[in-house]
């Protein structure tokens, strides 16, 4: 079974500053993937970044990067140079196993202050 935990219901950051969103997970799978999704008010789930568990190197996508600590089962998202458009709900998720279904955390609502 998999579980994904996000312990920060809400976060706030000043424009141009850096913020880190936390996520921990638990899984019995040996081969799994971890994701961060962004959900703006439009409801559309947008893939921000993904990490293959077998890769030691942390994934990066422009201003977004992760800190993947496999032993600690931690998968945090760092947003650098925050922009007003980054304001949204962010979900951490993990997948693996035969069905590859995504298991989501409860989300972190990020506010960006001008």
């Amino acid at each position: 079974a998999q579980t994904v935990t996000q312990s920060q219901p809400e976060m706030s950051v000043q424009e141009a500053e850096t913020v880190t969103l936390s996520c921990t997970y638990d899984t019995s799978e040996s081969d799994y993937y971890l994701f961060w999704y962004k959900q703006p008010p439009s409801r559309q789930m947008i893939l921000v970044i993904r990490q293959e568990a077998y890769k030691q190197q942390n994934a990066t996508e422009n201003r977004f990067s992760v800190n993947f600590q496999k032993a600690a089962k931690s998968f945090s998202l760092k947003i650098s140079d925050s922009q007003l458009g980054d304001a949204a709900m962010y979900f951490c998720a993990g997948s693996g196993g035969a069905t590859n279904k995504l298991i989501f955390g409860t989300g972190t609502l990020l506010a960006v202050q001008p």
Binding site: Y37, R43, M45, R50, A98, T99, N100, L102, G105, T106
Partner: protein, 116 residues
């Protein structure tokens, strides 16, 4: 199509009525998933389809919920005798076949269901 299409975008129904929600996945995506997102909550897995295999129905909350996928493409989620607690956003997602590298899913914009 270029993305996952869901219809209707919004649906208001009376308690006790049946509703059907439609999902049209990305062409060539063999895996299709339904999720439910209640107000202020994360996404709850409902059901998974992969090709012609038997679906994984382990997330369906009650026997009032059912889903089918015709021809390996379009899927319909049906809720019978709707209750107020069924009010939520229902999201559909599709992906390439599991095991071919997990690129994550592509989600539709969801159907917001309101039961009054």
């Amino acid at each position: 199509g270029a993305g996952v299409s869901q219809s209707p975008s919004n649906k208001v129904t009376e308690k006790g009525k049946d509703v059907e929600l439609r999902c049209d996945p990305i062409s060539g995506h063999t895996a299709l998933y339904w999720y439910r997102q209640s107000l202020g909550q994360g996404l709850e897995f409902l059901i998974y389809f992969q090709g012609n295999s038997a679906p994984d129905k382990s997330g369906l909350p009650s026997d009032r919920f059912s889903a089918e996928r015709t021809g390996g493409s379009v899927s319909t989620l049906t809720i019978q005798r709707t209750q107020q607690e069924d009010s939520a956003v229902y999201l559909c997602a599709s992906s390439r076949k599991p095991g071919q590298g997990s690129y994550g899913y592509t989600f539709g914009s969801g159907t917001r269901l309101t039961v009054v």
